[in-house]
């Protein structure tokens, strides 16, 4: 299976499970969870089912394209099932079958792993899923998002696509992954990995990034003051990415670090509160429709 066949198989499988197949959200982010399709939709009483690929940028993990396992940007396949159905584990195992991984022929384990994202004020309980000893998926039941208790708990499945591809294709270097016949991962990303590494560790203009962080934060607050929530959230994401580059660049001292994280978390909380208010004012439209293969909720 090529990398893109893996994506296509997951898209098809989760579409059959009544998920919206969304497209990657076009603001830089460190994980699929930060997409508004997860972060915001996990809040409130409305149901939601979505699946999407999310290119995730982690400047500190950049390795100039030289490490066989670590990347500046990797790809997550993210699924949100809200509320979490009773058979969610079976659904997950079904998705592995769709990838040609027959659980009977392997050793699949659910090993305790509790997830926490301090910048988002989010945490949940769950597992990392092991396939013959390798972690391939992070599986979480959200408990809190934006420092707000989840009214309707979501199940979040995050597949590490590169890991899975390396397993399926039986290779040891991420850059050898066959994206499609004749084109491998390195052909597409090696230069980008090198340049983003160089940027993150050596070239990033820290003065500019500090200024941007302040400006993004200011803009987010200004928009929140006007109850303009979704654009405000985009600026929170921009703050977070600026912080991540500064952090990789080692420009943020120890004492400042907690402060920066706190600033992002506060913004995330205000966005979460604003979003909840907005949905309430709209009368929770998704509660009134028969959606995601379920019956109408009224």
């Amino acid at each position: 299976m090529t990398f893109q066949e893996i994506i296509l198989a997951l898209q098809k499988y989760w579409a059959e499970q009544h998920c919206i197949i969304a497209q990657p959200y076009d603001v830089e982010k460190g994980a699929g969870t930060m997409s508004p399709y997860t972060f915001l939709k996990a809040l409130g009483p409305e149901p939601w089912r979505v699946a999407y690929v999310e290119p995730s940028r982690r400047p500190a993990d950049a390795r100039y394209g030289e490490n066989p396992n670590r990347l500046y940007q990797h790809h997550q396949y993210q699924v949100i099932l809200k509320p979490s159905p009773d058979n969610v584990q079976d659904l997950y195992l079904g998705s592995l079958k769709a990838l040609g991984i027959d659980p009977v022929k392997h050793d699949i384990r659910f090993v305790e792993d509790n997830w926490e994202a301090p910048t988002l004020g989010a945490w949940g309980l769950g597992w990392e899923v092991w396939l013959d000893g390798m972690e391939i998926t992070q599986y979480t039941y959200f408990q809190q998002v934006g420092s707000i208790d989840c009214q309707l708990e979501s199940a979040e499945l995050t597949y590490g696509l590169e890991r899975i591809a390396m397993y399926i294709q039986n290779i040891n270097n991420v850059f050898d992954i066959e994206w499609v016949s004749g084109i491998n991962y390195g052909d597409i990303f090696k230069v980008a990995e090198f340049e983003h590494s160089k940027y993150s560790f050596e070239e990033a203009d820290t003065g500019l990034l500090f200024r941007l962080f302040d400006e993004y934060e200011k803009e987010a607050r200004r928009l929140l003051g006007k109850d303009i929530i979704l654009p405000a959230y985009d600026y929170v994401l921009k703050c977070s990415h600026a912080f991540n580059i500064l952090d990789a660049r080692k420009a943020i001292s120890v004492t400042e670090r907690t402060g920066f994280i706190g600033r992002v978390r506060n913004l995330a909380r205000f966005v979460a509160q604003g979003y909840l208010k907005q949905r309430e004012e709209l009368g929770y439209p998704l509660l009134k429709k028969a959606v995601f293969g379920g019956a109408k909720n009224e």
């Binding site: 066989p68 659910f110 390798m134």
Partner: protein, 695 residues
């Protein structure tokens, strides 16, 4: 007829580390709830796998025991009117309780007579009562961390997906927040197809076994152990069995099958711990060693399933370990490009605690404290040089790639890299040892330098946390201060060093005082730390089998030098069980009682007139200097022996002398003598606190 109960709570995978305590708790809850409900039962057991918590109660009685209840009505005064006829209140009571007038009687309650009636409460069928009890058990189970899901009113470690409560051949039906009961359970997640019907409790274990689930954790444990031992032996080695890891694996699999994997021999060139850590901590593999206890290029993992497709599982696991070892190898090579020295500088970027500063700051404090301790322990000039160097380098490995990836290797890598860079063995060992003891039951440092460094690091953490008000409360102890205090105590006892806690705290609190971050005044904080140590010390001593009375007797006269306290406690314990000693306790009790009335221990020999008091004075003068000498040399056995010689003169004194004489000079003189004797005793302990066991 008595029946057996099986109550299976089907769940998604519960964290393995929760299970042992959870199974104990479920048993306790069940025992108390069933007993409270007056149901007789026989043996009770709990079982657990990743996907189920099982309660087995044998011999449940068919019905609850009957209960006779006394029900209180109105007072006699209120129950009858002036002409002696039942009042409205009494009639209401009769009606409410459905009893006749002749069935009620009077009984007194705190001096007032009340109307009472007796009511028989017939025992209900156990099956009915269990409908109430079982949901109660389900919702009473608590976990270290629990979650909400699907709008349930209770929390659980992971979602509960089914309930199977069977009493004999009957299903007990109830519903809890939409989770219903049925006669169906599930077998192994992938090996068992569909659902399994349980028609009678007697079928439960065997039917699940056919569904690839071994319910009994002890059976799984011995199976895993046997398989691992055999696999290793068949390959010419011996499995490094780790009971803690085994326990975790027991609760990670429902149907264990061990398999042996191989990795490249080149990785055996890495330090042993570097190979073992990813195996054990990250992959839950058992290492294998040869006859000479040298690591072999094998690992044993336990899959959740049977032998089918085991080659695929082996290959997968081998690949994962290979990648991990390749990482470790890479880190090892990378780390060696930089000196530990250069790592120290980087510690300025690692926070120890927000207010307390960086690890670099902590290192500076450790250096200062260890210098003080070196002085106190009388270390040689050369040793002190090594200690200083070790103190400077002890946290450096925290910023190496290896420790960032495998934090369990802190200290281990510090030692390794130090040796590779030509540091002295003494320095390297102290770096490793300063983390010891790392957990309850771990060894203490072997070298004196390691011991001093360990005490310095730990006392800095304790004093730092207390300085800013982070104290352990209840189960909350985020900086593991209790473990660290116990560590310090164990080290002091092990190396037999005399260190005053008071002065140690002074030194340790100083930097926080200078930086003005003490939350209270230094004296109060210090007192809190010392009290904290006193509690830990008491526990440590009691764990070692010393009586609380002896510990209190010794600590009540001062709590400072821990090893010295231990010496006194040990000596007192030995003495306590000798009859000659127990006799004197009564005598000393009388001494301390009166001594507390004395203004001072001063006396004037001129005022002693009676024979018995002169005898006691003489006896005191005779032994005092020698006694002080023994105490100074900490020869407490000999000192106590001398003390005992005072028993007879003391008894004679009390038999013949009226201490509280009218004449103030004479009275104060006698009290002064008693006070002097008491003070003498207090140099070892307050003997009046020792409880004499009458046999």
């Amino acid at each position: 007829m008595n029946k057996d109960l099986v109550f299976e709570i089907g769940t998604e995978e519960i964290p393995a580390r929760y299970m042992p305590a959870t199974l104990e708790k479920v048993k306790d809850i069940a025992v108390s709830m069933i007993t409270e409900n007056r149901i007789d039962f026989g043996e009770i057991k709990t079982y657990g796998t990743p996907r189920r918590i099982v309660l087995l109660v044998k011999g449940i009685a068919e019905k609850q025991r009957d209960l006779e209840e006394l029900i209180k009505g109105p007072s006699m005064k209120a129950a009858y009117d002036e002409s002696g006829n039942p009042s409205k209140a009494l009639l209401g009571f009769l009606k409410g309780q459905k009893v006749e007038l002749h069935e009620v009687f009077l009984q007194e309650l705190s001096g007032v007579e009340y109307i009472y009636c007796r009511k028989q409460k017939k025992g209900q069928p156990s099956k009915e009562v269990l409908k109430e009890i079982l949901p109660g058990i389900l919702t009473s189970i608590s976990f270290p961390k629990s979650m909400k899901w699907g709008n349930k009113s209770f929390r659980f470690a992971r979602p509960v997906r089914w309930l199977l409560p069977i009493l004999g051949d009957e299903l007990i039906e109830f519903e809890k927040d939409g989770i219903t009961c049925s006669k169906y359970t599930k077998g192994h997640r992938v090996l068992s197809q569909g659902i399994i019907e349980i028609n009678d409790t007697s079928e439960y274990f065997e039917k699940l076994r056919k569904g690839y689930v071994i319910v009994d954790q002890e059976e799984r444990r011995s199976l895993i152990r046997k398989q691992c031992v055999e696999l290793a032996r068949d390959n010419g080695g011996e499995v490094l069995m780790d009971e803690e890891l085994l326990e975790e694996i027991v609760y990670l699999v429902e149907y264990p099958t061990a398999l042996l994997g191989v990795f490249e021999t080149e990785y055996l060139k890495l330090p042993k711990e570097v190979v073992i850590t990813p195996m054990k901590e990250h992959q839950r593999y058992f290492p294998v060693v040869d006859k000479n206890n040298k690591l072999m290029n094998y690992f044993i993992t336990v899959r959740n399933g049977d032998n089918r497709f085991i080659e695929t599982v082996r290959e997968g696991n081998e690949r994962v370990l290979r990648a991990r070892l390749a990482d470790a190898d890479f880190f090892y090579r990378e780390d060696r490009k930089n000196s530990l020295e250069s790592c120290v500088e980087k510690l300025k970027n690692v926070v120890f605690q927000e207010t307390l500063g960086t690890i670099y700051d902590k290192t500076q404090r450790i250096i200062a404290i260890s210098e003080y301790l070196a002085e106190a322990a009388g270390l040689s000039h050369e040793s002190r040089k090594y200690l200083q160097r070790a103190a400077y380098l002890c946290k450096a490995d925290l910023v190496t790639n290896m420790v960032k990836e495998f934090d369990e290797l802190q200290g281990v890598m510090g030692r390794e890299y130090a040796l590779l860079q030509g540091e002295k063995q003494e320095v390297a060992d102290a770096i490793l040892e300063h983390y010891m003891p790392r957990y309850a039951g771990d060894c203490t440092p072997k070298t004196l330098n390691g011991s001093i460094l360990s005490i310095s690091d730990k006392i800095d953490t304790i004093c730092g946390c207390y300085a800013i008000g982070i104290q352990p409360t209840g189960s909350q102890d985020p900086y593991a201060l209790r473990r660290q205090a116990i560590g310090i105590i164990s080290i002091m006892l092990k190396c037999k060093i005399h260190i005053g806690l008071e002065q140690l705290c002074n030194i340790s609190l100083e930097p926080f005082e200078k930086r003005n971050i003490l939350k209270g005044d230094k004296k109060t904080v210090k007192a809190e730390v010392i009290e904290f140590f006193r509690q830990r010390f008491r526990n440590v001593m009691m764990d070692r089998g010393f009586g609380y009375d002896i510990i209190d007797a010794a600590t009540s006269v001062g709590f400072d030098d821990i090893y010295d306290l231990f010496l006194r406690i040990r000596e007192l314990s030995e003495w306590k069980y000798k009859s000659e000693f127990s006799g004197i306790l009564g005598s000393f009790n009388r001494v301390t009682n009166l001594a507390s009335k004395a203004l001072s221990p001063d006396m004037n020999p001129e005022f002693f007139t009676e024979k018995a008091e002169l005898e006691l004075l003489r006896a005191f003068d005779r032994v005092n200097a020698e006694y002080e000498g023994y105490v100074d040399k900490r020869e407490y056995g000999k000192a106590l022996k001398l003390l005992i010689t005072l028993e007879k003169p003391i008894d004679d004194f009390f038999d013949n002398i009226m201490v509280m004489a009218e004449d103030a000079d004479i009275r104060n003189n006698r009290l002064g003598l008693l006070k002097s004797i008491a003070n003498m005793m207090y140099r070892i302990a307050d003997l009046s606190l020792i409880v004499v066991n009458k046999i």
